[in-house]
């Protein structure tokens, strides 16, 4: 990655008396997890290239509270939510984009009742709108003709019925989009949701991510596309378990677009 990323914070923007078009909510995985940070950077590259005026909260961002809420800790969730809402409202945020479907769902659906009303977009929806408005062009580049299968994140798909934006973007890469036997509303969870990411699975006869990786491998893909940092981790682990890391890559949609253009 040669070019320097331009990542203004809201505090910097405010100091300059500017209001960005959109707040990029990075999320915990995108901030701290080594694999997910690459997704964050790829998305920022695209935003920079498309001259999108955006900012991040930086050190003022905190967990949305999603894993606490799904684990049953409503107190902790609402504490986090109200603290975040105070920050967001202080900056008069109107529009938020995030690359994490869990942050997306929580901000979009669970914050309004607590006083945080914003237009919230998943990064695939945002990229799609850039594309539709002619602010972004997507070329197939190295992915032309590649077999790509998309794993629907539960909190993007079933939870919020966003199925087409990520697929539209993949098709713009001139790639061959291949569907798993279970996709869209019937998609199988990667196994990370509901705070499962942070604990061991209950006793059973198989790990969920292995079951889902098998679904993906059945499509004989070159690439498994993901739209969620946690799904990405689960699918990457699944591919390692199947010793396929030489043949099959797990990439976020943002990475596909950024890499295709060789950003």
């Amino acid at each position: 990655m040669s070019e320097v990323l331009i990542v203004p914070t809201m505090a910097e923007m405010l100091a300059q008396g500017k209001q960005p078009e959109v707040l990029f909510w990075v999320g915990c995985a995108g901030s701290f997890d080594d694999r997910s940070k690459k997704i964050t950077k790829a998305f920022v590259q695209i935003l920079n290239r498309a001259n999108v005026s955006f900012a991040v909260l930086g050190t003022e961002e905190s967990c949305t509270g999603d894993p606490a809420k799904r684990a049953g800790n409503e107190f902790l969730f609402q504490m986090q939510a109200m603290m975040n809402i105070e920050v967001l409202n202080a900056y008069e945020i109107k529009k938020i984009v995030t690359a994490c479907p869990h942050c997306f769902n929580t901000l979009k659906n669970e914050y309004p009742e607590l006083g945080g009303k914003y237009e919230v977009l998943h990064h695939t929806e945002f990229l799609k709108s850039l594309l539709d408005n002619g602010r972004l062009t997507i070329e197939g580049g190295q992915f032309k003709g590649k077999r790509i299968t998309f794993h629907d994140p539960c909190y993007l798909g079933r939870a919020n019925k966003v199925y087409e934006a990520p697929r539209d973007l993949i098709q713009k890469l001139d790639a061959e989009l291949v569907e798993m036997k279970r996709s869209r509303a019937n998609g199988l969870c990667c196994g990370a949701g509901g705070a499962q990411m942070f604990k061991d699975a209950e006793p059973g006869n198989k790990e969920i991510n292995i079951e889902r990786t098998e679904d993906a491998l059945e499509t004989k893909p070159d690439i498994i596309a993901a739209g969620c940092p946690f799904c990405n981790t689960m699918m990457t682990d699944g591919i390692k378990n199947k010793e396929k890391e030489g043949e099959v890559k797990v990439l976020d949609i943002a990475e596909l677009i950024a890499n295709a253009q060789d950003l």
């Binding site: 990323l5 050190t59 894993p67 684990a71 409503e74 079933r158 919020n160 509901g194 209950e202 292995i210």
Partner: protein, 444 residues
């Protein structure tokens, strides 16, 4: 028919509907054991859901074979019940085929009832084969051991019996209609596309015997219907009625949106208010029992969740699509619903025995029916909610019970506790400092 018949029939009718009414009252009482929840907003969307999902069966056909077979039985059930009106009038007033004056329309009606009855027989046979010979996974699952498995088969046998009696009743009627010069009160009425092939069976029997059989079949058919109607309350088959209110009152929000507990909101607001006086005495109206966070028993669930439990017909689509269940975990969303209903029935019986008051029985939905192991296996992926043909949400019950485990009992698995204390201390589920959130910007 003499007056004795009419009196017998009236008694049958009163007992049939009377007992049914008592059980419906019990169902409503038990559902009202649940907590309040507002599901009366947006009636337009609610009517639409009911029309599409319950009446229109739109979610059934997502699995096409079961879906189409089910639509046959469903349409058969609804249409053939029009005939019930005639049977009841005939029974009460001693008439015979009272609607025969409709002429061609009557012929079309009876003809279509017959064809539907035949299709229902076909579909129900297919269901029996799927359950007992092909043994589809979701029908031989461990949740269904014992009574639920027999219950499912009894319902199918019942339907076969009722349809067969209906066709036999028509066949004997046709036989008597065809007697040259007419016979007794058996006027020419109706068309019999199916039972005309059964009718020859009665050739060679005396007319009197066929008439006796005809009346026997008529009586067995109507008695069967009353028995079946009253069997509903004891079986998983209540969905034929409750699917309608259940889809009407179902959650309209995005599936990913979990409710924000209001009791918690109040406390959190107080905590975060710099002007709040920590020593202030609570507002005076407090005879109220302090709210319990989450659910450990059915009274903590809301009434829609309890309605869900009565509506569930144990088809198992939820369980067969559950990622946890598919990978051998103990969690089965269907079992969550069955347990909720079983516990609700137990509480209901307790109230009946104790003259209207629930006497604590040292049991609860949590632990005695649903174990924490099941609850913690859920990924909250919404596959069960998406699959349910009548919009039941096992997930909402799982989440409410997790809330109880975490907020009332502090009984989360250790790694979950670690995750939560990380969020509390440094605003992320992992142990990274909030001050390092933007470090990625400068990392190569």
């Amino acid at each position: 028919m003499g007056y004795l018949d009419n009196i017998l029939f009236t008694i049958l009718l009163v007992i049939g509907f009377g007992y049914f009414y008592l059980n419906v009252k019990k169902i409503i009482r038990n559902i009202n054991l649940g907590a309040a929840v507002n599901r009366k907003d947006n009636p337009k969307a609610r009517w639409k859901n009911m029309a599409m999902i319950a009446l229109g069966q739109s979610k059934m056909v997502r699995r096409p074979i079961a879906g189409v077979l089910h639509i046959i039985v469903y349409v058969g059930f609804v249409i053939i019940n029009i005939e019930l009106l005639e049977i009841i009038i005939d029974g009460l007033f001693g008439t015979h085929r009272i609607f025969a004056f409709l002429g061609t329309a009557y012929n079309v009606l009876i003809g279509s009832f017959e064809i539907l009855a035949f299709l229902v027989l076909f579909a129900v046979t297919a269901f029996l084969i799927r359950r007992n010979i092909i043994k589809l996974n979701r029908f031989i699952h461990s949740d269904l051991k014992g009574w639920p498995k027999s219950d499912a088969n009894y319902i199918l046998y019942f339907e076969i019996t009722l349809m067969t009696l209906f066709l036999l009743m028509n066949a004997t009627d046709l036989h008597l209609q065809n007697i040259p010069g007419g016979y007794s009160h058996f006027i020419k009425a109706g068309s019999f596309p199916i039972s005309q092939f059964i009718e020859p069976l009665f050739n060679g029997y005396s007319n009197g015997l066929v008439m006796l059989l005809s009346e026997l079949f008529w009586w067995l058919h109507i008695i069967g219907i009353f028995v079946f109607m009253n069997y509903l309350y004891f079986s998983k088959h209540l969905h034929i009625l409750l699917a309608f209110p259940n889809t009407y009152f179902a959650n309209l929000n995005p599936q990913g949106q979990f409710d924000n507990l209001e009791s918690v909101t109040n406390e959190v607001k107080l905590m975060m208010d710099p002007n709040a006086d920590p020593y202030a005495t609570p507002a005076p109206d407090e005879n109220a029992v302090p709210a319990k966070f989450g659910a450990s028993d059915i009274q903590d669930l809301n009434w829609v969740q309890l309605l869900n439990a009565y509506t569930c017909t144990e088809c198992g689509r939820c369980t067969s699509s559950c990622p946890a269940n598919q990978t051998g975990k103990k969690l089965s969303p269907r079992k969550i619903m069955m347990d909720t209903r079983d516990r609700m029935e137990e509480v209901g019986k307790n109230i009946d025995v104790n003259k209207g008051i629930f006497v604590p029985d040292n049991k609860s939905l949590l632990n005695d029916y649903i174990t924490p192991e099941e609850l913690w296996a859920c990924t909250s992926c919404n596959a069960c909610v998406e699959e349910c043909p009548v919009n039941i949400s096992p997930l909402s019950i799982i989440m409410d019970m997790r809330r109880y485990l975490v907020m009332e009992q502090s009984a989360a698995p250790t790694p979950i506790n670690a995750m939560m204390s990380n969020i509390e201390n440094n605003g992320a589920p992992w142990q990274y400092s909030q001050q390092d959130r933007l470090n990625w910007k400068n990392e190569i």
